[in-house]
Amino acid sequence: MKRKSASITNKINSTIYPGLTILAILLLWECLSIFEIVPGYMLPSPQETVMAFVHDFPLLMSHLKVTLIETLVGTLTGISIGFLVACLMDRWDGAYKAMYPLIVLTQTIPAVAIAPLLVLWFGYQMMPKVILIVLITFFPIVIGVLDGFRSADQDAINLMRSMGASRWQIFRHIKFPDALPNFFSGLRITVAYAVVGAVLAEWLGGFAGLGVYMTRVKKSFAYDKMFAVIFLISIISLLLIWLVNVLQKRCMPWERVETETGDRRENL
């Protein structure tokens, strides 16, 4: 009982502290605008930002839809390719040796640098955005999953082998589940990057999307609308990260069970 109530207080504390901090910052920001310490046309107050958000809501949503679709298609493609490549690299040592340096090398090229090139090559449609997201998401997934495969318990694999398990059975029963935690940590980083990647690619050219909207409001010096978009982008990133967490809990039920602490533990 004691432990349970302690965990609830803990939970409340971990919401109250950051909540208060955010509230304090908002208050400070509001004061900066009200007393015109920073001129209103440069820094819109939180209130104005919310108003702009509400006013532009339907427009924002239509742009958001485009950005989200790009993010989703890009991320899913990136994950699939990343997973496949990781499997290939794990299965054949030659593939590992051949591809590993190349994969690291691709990460030294900044996304900002190739994005304009992609727009030049693939035009203003969805293609360059999706490709950029694939390039961004691919790396954390490959490295994460590969490390997961490689860290699988060799003794457990030997035991499976002594039971006559095939390569596929070893993959299915040991390597794949062992790689799941790494896969999800990779995915968490990836989804946040993916949204940013999509917006970045849209800046450089496109017909719709939050990035396109951003460049438009920037040109008209509508700072309140810009803040509203920034606000929306971070909310979307947070939501996606939360979604990954939910998915992880679903896929890995064994992580949630009570560990061997006291009463729940089966004693010999």
Binding site: G164, L180, W254, L268
Partner: protein
């Protein structure tokens, strides 16, 4: 009468180094036999030869009268580490050898489930390994070993990672279960008490290279081993074994 399992003059070398030399042991159906020796006397190497992971330089392994030297899949194996997969429930862990052999998952669970009671694991079917104590995990590991093969089991220091109290309990449990399932086992240990308590016969192994020094038969029937380790009879065995190990130290 033919033995269940027999090794005939097994010698194993790695490079020029002789690890075990001329080892002959025999185990009968349903018998519990221990290999007792200090670390580095080649006990595990002998196991790897029996299970077929290594092919001995000379000698042969005979199971049920057939030569199985250097082939795997005939005998089951259990280690000090329980090696239960953390993402599978106990019943799925235990049923894994059946699933690997191609049995449908549901059927494998049913078949494994029948033995939970007998192994003192009732109620743990849906739990995950991390919810169980070390002793319970070793029980589950032994059940998995048994489901892989009820022929001969090789147990490589299965209880050495457990604390003394848990160990005492699991020894009683082990004798109990073995009485019921009549599994033929070869048990590696460096714990003299464990060897005397759990065996029909003890092979004393000394190194290097690893050789069988002596074979000791523990006369007290397995069914009457309760508090056996507190008796003079037990102490006599222990003294004899300790002298043997001491003599061969240098």
């Amino acid at each position: 009468m033919t033995h269940k399992l027999e090794t005939k003059n097994i010698t194993m070398k790695f490079g020029d180094e002789v690890i075990i030399q001329d080892i002959s042991i025999a185990v009968d159906q349903g018998e519990l036999v221990s290999l007792l020796g200090v670390s580095g006397s080649g006990k595990t190497t002998l196991f790897n030869c029996i299970s077929g992971i290594y092919h001995p330089v000379s000698g042969s392994v005979i199971l049920d009268g057939k030569d199985i030297t250097g082939t795997t899949g005939h005998v089951s194996y259990m280690l000090q580490k329980d090696l239960l997969l953390p993402y599978k429930t106990i019943e799925d862990n235990v049923a894994l050898p059946l699933v690997i052999r191609g049995m449908p998952k549901k059927q494998a669970r049913l078949k494994a489930g029948e033995l939970f009671e007998e192994f003192g694991l009732a109620g743990t079917e849906k739990k995950y390994p991390k919810q169980l104590s070390g002793g319970m995990r070793q029980r589950a590991a032994l059940l998995r070993t048994y489901l892989f093969s009820d022929n001969v089991a090789l147990l490589d220091e299965p209880f050495s990672a457990l604390d003394t109290i848990t160990k005492g309990k699991i020894h009683n449990w082990y004798l109990d279960v073995m009485e019921k399932i009549k599994l033929t086992t070869v048990f590696i240990t460096h714990d003299i008490n464990e060897a005397i308590l759990l065996s029909d016969r003890v092979y004393i192994m000394t190194g290097k290279p690893g050789q069988i020094q002596k074979e000791i038969r523990i006369k007290r029937p397995r069914g009457e081993r309760h508090e056996f380790d507190l008796t003079n009879e037990f102490m006599e065995y222990k003294r004899e074994i300790m002298h043997l190990l001491e003599e061969n130290r240098s």
